[in-house]
């Protein structure tokens, strides 16, 4: 789980990239509060073998679930 709340672009996608490169997790949960980060992380996921589903949370935050595609 990555908590990138409080970080503005491009930092959230950089944090996700580092986690994916390090462990290649089967799934990854990411919290962000920058709408641009939702789009950027989705772009990254689709180009790196992951599906991404975003859900709006209370207080303007978003949770993204990245799942590795088989």
């Amino acid at each position: 789980m990555i908590d990138a709340r409080g970080y503005s672009c491009p930092m959230p996608v950089v944090m996700v990239q580092k986690a994916v490169q390090k462990d290649a997790p089967a799934s990854l949960e990411v919290l962000v509060d920058d709408p641009c980060a939702v789009e950027n992380i989705t772009r990254f996921a689709h180009n790196h073998g992951y599906q991404a589903a975003a859900q709006e949370r209370d207080g303007g935050a978003f949770s993204l679930t990245l799942t590795k595609q088989p």
């Binding site: 672009c9 491009p10 950089v14 990239q17 789009e39 950027n40 772009r43 180009n47």
Partner: protein
């Protein structure tokens, strides 16, 4: 402030990416009184690059103002880019810049040498343009910002607005895209150094060579590509001219590093803003998303988008090459607009 602090870290959004979105801007201007003056040939209701005011039958003023937070860490480079960008609006109208005034916002603790270097960058570019800086205004602000108000001269019959494109025109773009993506990645130290240096170098290039190349040719419309990205500015040109544009994406110069960074999701917020503003009028067909992203990417001190009569297209290509505008590309054509998308990507 530490003397070695990075200028771009002081800014929330960089360069022309800080521009208020086109859609929001239209809302903000709505309802404001518009006082007509027959001498005002181009005003803010025209969404053009600069205002044009006729002084006599053969002389008009062209006036613009442009400023933004640091897009580069080097203060001298930032000053040069901000000035080249402000001067560009005059060139996009076909004008000749003559007089400039500085606009400067600086944090109280910014080192004097850094402030001096920003201004020196501005002076050098304005001098290169053949204009003079006559003064300016500076205030304290938490975030540094720099730019200029520029006044130029033009013959009223030779004003190049963005509203005159005609069916059959050939479209040229005089600088590569990708500046917003590359500088966004640089904020995370993920932009290859040579790609970033090349992008900065392009941003310091005046659009004077491109303006000179257009002289004497049947150029029907021109605009400079800045914060709204190629597609945002192309859409304004298409809508105000009442034409449809077909853009050949393979002919548009996009640095490969910018495409790779777009695929990694290193995209500036302004790209998404530009996409939301323009995508309803763009038929993107099967164009790769990263390429589309580059076309929506906000540019700072970008090139000119020129619509020229097809009979003069070869002459313009030759004149651009002669005026040392080596990246000028023939990127598409204009057609009669009937219905549907204003811009077709192929």
């Amino acid at each position: 402030m530490e003397p070695d602090i990075k200028l771009t870290k002081l800014a929330d959004c960089a360069g022309c990416g800080a521009k208020v979105g086109a859609g929001v801007l239209a809302q903000l201007l709505e309802g404001l009184p518009v006082h007509r003056d027959p001498a005002l040939l181009i005003g803010f209701d025209k969404s053009d690059d600069a205002a044009v005011y006729r002084l006599s039958d053969n002389l008009a003023l062209v006036q613009t103002v442009d400023f933004f937070p640091p897009i580069a860490d080097d203060p001298y480079l930032f000053g040069q880019i901000a000035a080249a960008n402000a001067l560009s609006d005059i060139y996009a109208m076909g004008g000749d810049p003559k007089l400039a005034l500085n606009l400067l916002c600086v944090p109280k603790d910014m080192p004097d040498s850094a402030v001096h270097d920003i201004l020196r960058g501005g002076y050098d570019k304005v001098y290169e343009a053949g204009a003079v800086i006559a003064g300016g205004h500076s205030i304290h602000d938490a975030e540094p910002k720099y730019g200029l108000c520029v006044t130029g001269l033009i013959h009223p019959d030779r004003v190049l607005s963005n509203a005159g494109a005609q069916a059959g025109d050939v479209l040229f773009l005089t600088k590569p895209l990708g500046a917003g993506i590359l500088t966004t990645a640089a904020k995370a130290d993920l932009c290859p150094a040579d790609a970033l240096a090349a992008a900065y170098s392009r941003m310091t290039v005046l659009n004077k060579g491109a303006r000179d190349a257009m002289q004497g040719l049947r150029v029907h419309a021109c605009t400079d590509v800045t914060g709204f990205g190629l597609l945002g500015h192309a859409l304004e040109l298409a809508q105000t001219s009442g034409v449809q544009l077909t853009l050949h994406t393979s002919a548009i110069a996009i640095p490969p590093e910018a495409l790779a960074l777009a695929r990694m999701g290193l995209l500036p917020e302004g790209m998404y803003r530009n996409r939301r503003f323009a995508e309803h009028a763009v038929a993107a067909e099967q164009i790769e998303l990263a390429v589309q992203d580059a076309l929506y990417d906000p540019q700072t001190s970008g090139g000119l988008l020129i619509a020229v009569d097809p009979a003069d297209a070869d002459a313009l290509a030759a004149a651009l090459a002669q005026n040392a505008v080596p990246c000028a590309q023939r990127i598409g054509t204009a057609q009669q607009y009937a219905q549907g998308a204003h811009i077709i990507l192929r």
